[in-house]
Symmetry: C2
Subunit: 308 residues, 2 copies
């Protein structure tokens, strides 16, 4: 396929369709509700939200494609890449950004939370790049599942370049980190940004990698849903899930760049904060019991664990 | 009383005692648990937390007095006031900061959330100031209660200078604002910072005002607890409370300066995030019913309402 705005947009929308279908099938009860919205400054999106399912308590698979004049703060943030490719007429530049963002909060504490985002950005001066990330946040870390998850991501990376998995896995460890808790959000995954052409691959090859990341989501997550959705859990495990969701809220509101970007640019709040769970909890100075499953999970919320 | 570090600290600790006693009495069931902590870089605090009361679900009355070398980011933030009073030797300056922070989350959606913070800051170069804020976040705004709350604050302000209530009330409207929701957090209150001597009052007079703000807390809030604590509420009202608490979490994690300061300076996390409720909720694109009590409350979450 030719790589242009229209084709990328079409491909993302069909990916959104496929992911929603796969999640509905695995949930077996709830259906996504769709909302189309437009942005005053240009573009819009197609939000798909699922709530009160058998497996999924709340989840969103959000597509957007926005465009317009480059906001001032974006110019500042991307100063380096912009000034290296065009000088003088920056204020006149237009941007186009499209992508899919997914967060799924399951009902059961034994099914992990998942997040994926893939995004494409271009400017009228020709600058363009790809970004993405996918990470898993189990309420209880199960080594076998963590290994499976990272194996899937490693396979996608290795297909394109063998430097990608170690590089993007470390990037995810650093990105999905709750600094004030000295904890990773979950078991990480991969994260990458500003991918155009690099020493490893040209743009078209990176684009193929980026597409494969998007396409691995549905099978990877539905496998984990399927494996764990029917397991029985206790009220104590449910309470622990609510506390871990509290941490998820902390990460998203304090650190997540996509969320900050959305809040600062007067984005569509309900789409941005779709990532927050139906219920979350904070208990003062909660301590896990030594040797418990909860303590075991906390011990593994660290950077640099090699799951594969 | 002479105004020095020791006396201010003693006064704050006895205020903490009095407030805790008054809250326990009005709650009628739960007791505060105390924890003393020290800060590696200097100073420490006395945390008092109450949980699972009859009226209070979770609340903290936290005293701290910390000192040491001025952190770099603080120098940057306070650049103006620092460079105007001392040039050259800033890196060598020591600071001392003490205060009380309170957040009370009640069990009942018909009892409002309250927050107060009063703080004193000084540097070894002689710079010093007072700051504070008190604001009320009713899950359901009751005009009579909102008027009562603002009347108490106005009385405290007017006793010292008649410019203070309008000035500090507007400051609170601006400060306790959830920008991305286009909503105030609640019905506001008063907020002030960097109070030393000004055109209205000298430092000792401002200090007396500051003490009066602290002393008005207990009677003002226990009056509102007492008036509303026995009222019956519905499951729908409880659900609305959880959604409003979600907004409270959003404000504290995204905007609150005290929280940001704490998270960025490796502060005592459990003390800082004591402000978060036991449970909070987010529903996708929740809409209130036209003409409902919930809609009535939303309509009043605006800046510039004159309650008195």
């Amino acid at each position: 396929m030719e790589i242009n705005k229209e084709n990328i947009t079409d491909w993302l929308k069909s990916l959104q369709d496929n992911i929603c279908k796969a999640l509905e099938l695995e949930d077996g009860f709830a259906k996504f509700k769709e909302e189309n919205w437009t942005r005053n400054e240009g573009g819009g999106g197609r939000s798909r939200v699922i709530e009160n399912g058998k497996v999924i308590e709340k989840g969103g698979v959000m597509f957007s494609a926005v465009s317009g004049k480059i906001p001032a703060f974006l110019l500042k943030e991307h100063e380096h890449s912009i000034t290296s490719s065009s000088l003088g007429s920056i204020e006149e530049e237009l941007f186009f950004a499209t992508g899919i963002s997914i967060v799924i909060h399951p009902q059961s504490p034994l099914v992990p939370i998942i997040h994926m985002n893939i995004r494409y950005f271009e400017m009228s001066n020709g600058t363009k790049w790809l970004g993405g990330g996918i990470d898993l946040t189990p309420h209880y870390i199960v080594d076998e599942d963590a290994r499976f998850f990272h194996e899937q991501l490693k396979a996608v990376c290795d297909k394109h370049h063998n430097s990608y998995y170690p590089k993007f896995k470390n990037w995810a460890d650093d990105y999905f980190y709750i600094n004030h808790r000295h904890e990773t959000r979950g078991i990480g995954g991969i994260f990458f940004d500003r991918l155009n052409e690099n020493e490893e691959l040209n743009f078209a090859q990176n684009f193929a990698f980026w597409q494969d990341v998007g396409e691995t989501f549905a099978s990877t997550y539905t496998t984990l849903m399927n494996k764990n959705k029917s397991k029985l859990f206790t009220p104590e495990q449910k309470q622990w899930q609510l506390l871990r969701r509290g941490r998820y809220v902390e990460f998203n509101l304090v650190y997540d760049k996509g969320t900050k970007f959305g809040l600062e640019t007067n984005g569509r709040i309900e789409s941005i904060l779709m990532s927050l769970p139906t219920n979350a909890s904070w208990l003062y100075d909660f301590k896990t019991t030594e040797g418990s499953e909860e303590q075991n999970t906390l011990n593994k919320l660290k950077k640099g664990i090699n799951w594969v």
